[in-house]
């Protein structure tokens, strides 16, 4: 949670247009980054291993135990399921599915509304107080209301994730669209470019650096939100299993689910960063 917090605040200040952590510069840069990332990680894990094997508390199993359990829990299934266990196919896929659907809807909604707001200063000024107020409610705090109104099913969870994600995307999109230089927009009109092409050929590409910055924070948020939503009235999912493990004092399982979340978060973020690196090559280079 703490690492996610730090990332959120870091990305919440995209500045003029936050490129992803400096962005990726081709495969060379990627492998270099992986080396740096994993180098530090190896040292950290080694220290962690030493500390936890020296300590006797039952709450902190050693990393080796966690990794071993990780393999056992998720990759000891039948060959016809690609060795994936029921936990992997059932709970992990259930969470992933909810998360990605909610994320996609939240991004779409955020981009649509954000673009509309970004296009009209009057609309922005008019809705600003409402937007500021609503987005200040921590998304997690609205979960009880979502359950009350939409019930305890998947529909509620997807809607809840979409809601939480949409604010980051909406605000970034609106600011990105609003800050497009007037001359660029005038160019589209002066050459009688169709409205659709003005939108897809000028407005959205020009705002893309900011939109993607919002989508990156949104992705982190989506992971938090899916787990949180599964803490309550759920029957499966990563969040549900986490709570179950905690209630049954299956400390090792709890840690294993946490490790899984870390891996998932890392993978998803990397996918988005690589996509961003591709899409925004022009932006990065134009700034150099």
């Amino acid at each position: 949670m703490t690492t996610t917090e730090i990332r959120t605040t870091d990305a919440a200040n995209p500045g003029p247009a936050a490129p992803g952590k400096g962005g990726l510069r081709g495969t060379a840069r990627l492998s270099k980054r992986l080396a740096v990332d994993f180098g530090a990680l190896v040292v950290l894990v080694a220290l962690w291993q030493l500390a936890t094997s020296a300590a006797t508390t039952p709450f902190f199993p050693t990393p080796l135990e966690i990794v071993e359990n990780f393999g056992k829990m998720f990759f000891t299934g039948p060959p016809e399921h690609l060795f994936l266990t029921d936990a992997a196919t059932g709970d992990v896929f259930a969470s992933l599915w909810r998360m990605l659907l909610g994320y996609a809807i939240g991004c779409a909604w955020g981009i649509i509304v954000g673009t509309l707001l970004g296009r009209s200063r009057a609309a922005r000024e008019y809705t600003d107080p409402v937007v500021e107020l609503l987005r200040s409610i921590p998304a997690t705090a609205s979960l009880p209301l979502f359950i009350l109104v939409l019930g305890g099913g998947d529909f509620m969870r997807v809607a809840f994730i979409a809601w939480g994600v949409s604010w980051f995307v909406l605000i970034n999109t609106a600011s990105g669209v609003a800050s497009i230089h007037a001359t660029m927009l005038a160019m589209g009109r002066a050459f009688r470019v169709s409205r659709v092409r003005q939108l897809f050929g000028i407005i959205l590409p020009a705002a893309m650096p900011k939109i993607l910055a919002g989508m990156r924070i949104g992705l982190t948020a989506a992971l938090i939100l899916v787990v949180t939503s599964e803490f309550m009235v759920a029957t499966n999912g990563i969040g549900f299993q986490l709570i179950q493990a905690q209630r049954r004092f299956q400390v090792l399982d709890m840690w294993t689910w946490m490790l899984l979340l870390a891996v998932l978060g890392y993978l998803l973020n990397t996918i988005l960063e690589v996509t961003e690196g591709r899409l925004l090559a022009w932006h990065r280079k134009a700034r150099d």
Partner: protein
Amino acid sequence: MSVTVPMTATRSAVDAMLQVEGITHVYGQGATAHRAIENLSFTVGPREFVSIVGPSGAGKTTLLRILSGLLTPTEGTVSLVGEPVDGVPEGMAMVFQDYSRSLLPWLSIEKNVMFPLTRTEAGRDERRRIARESLEAVGLADRHDRYPWQLSGGMQQRVAIARALAYRPRLLLMDEPFASVDAQTRSDLEDLVLSLRDRYDMTILFVTHDIDESVYLADRVLVLSRPPAHLVEEIPVPIPHPRDQITTKETDEFVDLRGRVARLIRSGGQPDGGGSR
């Protein structure tokens, strides 16, 4: 004005490409209102090259924005070939003063030049051919796959010009297009524009604050006053074509015209200015 409109309108249908009638433009309202243009009228004939000079802040960009239909004037009308301009007209292209902001940084310069062409009949290959031809005309054909931010300011300006040319406009509006290039490039671009005017049969309105340039390029120079801009004088430039950067500028005629324009600008449109003989 109500008396003169019908008369001139009839005339315009015959021999005017562009007709500007009593244009006034006020930015803002109330105490902060700024009168940028005051009762400006003039006519531009087909294939004419008209320079517009005036001090910085006179309202030249405002005028072009009005002529292009991007901005609706507070008062007055603009007609293109007899048709009142209401929104951006067809067959008009613009080279923006802020040229680098008018290029799309995520597209190669060839794609930038092709960008406005989608509405034309031409297929993709044809559009690419037109784009290449225009880039060739401005001497950038070998860099078609570069991106705007990889080019110098002068080259970016040429891309903006190529984009306008590829559009095959009848009327080309250019807003201080050579303001930020070095002297040599500037001379080259001036001659380029003159040759392209002949090749593509365009009417050109060319805003500049460079007096030599205004005379060298134009068939007629419109001198605007200090703001709010009104027309100080129209000066015909009867120097024959083709013109030459060195010899034309040495002729008595050129020196004389340049002096007249300079005095008019310095006087800022005051009747007591030493300009008019």
